[in-house]
């Protein structure tokens, strides 16, 4: 990564911190500590499950919301504040700006997710009093959630490169929802014939497959995640995010900023 991309990424991270994005950690801590203390009293034998399920779901949802709402403003905010012109008047290429923004937001989300993961483990220790070997799988689930963020950030940036913040939010959130249903979409494609089948199969492969990146429930039950799945999901997320970033670069390179 060249120095210019690194500087843009670092500034994006600093800006997110200045925008008090990491304040969501307070809400997360309150949510998790509340669950750890109270769920045991209102339910039966699921204290540990709730801490893992709730913790990882919160990591995922908080991150997705941040990715969408910060991601959609990454380009448009810079244009609106006219800071983009200052940046581009320096020896910074447009693609470097997009890639730097992507790394900056992804970095923010990784830091956020890691802090939350520490919180999940602390709550788990409080509830179970000790760790077992299968708890290490939680790290795999957190890693998959980070891969989800990589995809969502890239999509938000793609939409942000040509659309208004509101429309970008709608598009990204819609793709997040559709991505969660992607396996249903594939099942639907398998049931159709002819042109519809071709079309629906194409759609199923174009939308992000976020359900494959969700291993929260099996991990909560202590089931191991196959290494091959980790490798394949990593490659898939990188390829998909790369595709979206390339799309964003192509659009932004040709965009008239006057």
């Amino acid at each position: 990564m060249n120095a210019r991309i690194g500087s843009i990424a670092m500034n994006t991270f600093r800006e997110a911190v200045r925008d008090r994005v990491l304040y969501n950690l307070i809400a997360f801590v309150l949510l998790l500590s509340g669950a750890a203390i109270f769920v045991g009293q209102i339910s039966i034998e699921i204290e540990k499950l709730v801490v893992i399920n709730l913790g990882l779901t919160a990591v995922s949802l908080f991150g997705v919301v941040i990715a969408i709402f910060i991601g959609i403003g990454l380009v448009s905010k810079e244009i609106e504040k006219r800071t983009l012109y200052t940046v581009l008047s320096r020896p910074v290429r447009r693609w470097e700006f997009i890639v730097g923004k992507f790394f900056g937001l992804t970095g923010t989300l990784v830091v956020n997710a890691l802090c939350m993961a520490v919180g999940v483990f602390a709550a788990l220790l409080y509830v179970a009093h000790r760790f077992v070997a299968s708890d290490a799988q939680i790290l795999v689930a957190v890693y998959f959630i980070v891969l989800q963020f990589v995809i969502i950030c890239a999509l938000a940036l793609l939409f942000s490169s040509f659309s208004s913040p509101l429309l970008s939010a709608v598009f990204t959130f819609a793709l997040f929802v559709i991505g969660s249903f992607s396996e249903d979409l594939r099942g639907f494609a398998a049931m159709t014939h002819g042109f519809t089948r071709w079309l629906s199969t194409g759609a199923a492969y174009i939308v992000p497959n976020l359900s494959a990146l969700n291993v929260i429930t099996p991990v909560a039950h202590g089931e191991p995640v196959p290494t091959q799945l980790i490798v394949n999901n990593t490659l898939y997320a990188l390829a998909y995010a790369g595709m979206a970033i390339c799309g964003a670069i192509l659009i932004f390179e040709r965009r008239n900023l006057k």
Binding site: S43, I44, I46, L49, N53, L54, S60, D184
Partner: protein
Amino acid sequence: MSPRTRTTITASILLAACLAGSIFFLTRVDAMRTTATLDEVLFINSPKWVKRLSLGYDGLMADIYWTRAVQYFGSRHQAQAKSFNALAPLLDITTTLDPKLLVAYEFGANFLSPNPPFGAAQPKQAIALVEKGIQANPNAWKLYYELGFIYYMELKDYRQAAEAFERGSQVPGAHPFMKILAANMAQHAGDMQMARAVWTTTYESSQDKYIRGNAVAHLRALQVEEDVTRIQDAVTAYGKKTGELPPNMIALAKAGLLPGIPIDPDGHPYKLTSEGRVELQSPEDFPFATKGLPLGYKARAPRDLNQAVN
């Protein structure tokens, strides 16, 4: 006082007043609404739709639905309700969202099968729930045990119970008692002995306070039933021998029909009424007892079965 300070104080007072007002009016609204109707409402009945709407976060949704099922059962049980209409659908949704949530099958079957107020009197639904659990978790021997338990306790179907225990005994790591239960059930051994074996296995195979408390309460009730049957036989024998009812337990002991003054599992002596009936001194301490109860006595659901363990 500066205008800014004045505004701050006024706004703070108004905020507190409005908060208190909203809480007050909400309690009034709650009092006007029929909670029974709210309890019974399941906004989405289809487990598949709930799973889809969970956007992949089905584990957390399952935990929420399971907590809801526990709360629903607990509140109805406490209110001595006769109907538990939403219980089976809640458990179905829970186990569709997370088919590996063993606790929902084990406890859910215990909630569904017994008669009110201890359960929903729905043994068929309990069996369907446990069979669903076995399909998703074929190596969970406790589910076969639950199945055999329901067939034996609620339906008195010894053949099906023996088959369930037998299937469970073949699962690796199953409790060794499963084989004995299967054999005894097949032979249809004495009910009292069989019941004791089943509840002892329940106690030994669980670490949960609720399940262990329930097992202890049933074992205590079985002890009472055995004692009362034995004492009642002694009363009958005394009547045949002397032509009159025994005046008290001492008379039975003196006649050599009892080894001493019989006491219940809590150490209290059994009472002998003037009509020759054997009764417990504190029947409320034995919620599952079917013998030794005063005439017209109606058993109440135990408030906290955990107490039975301690």
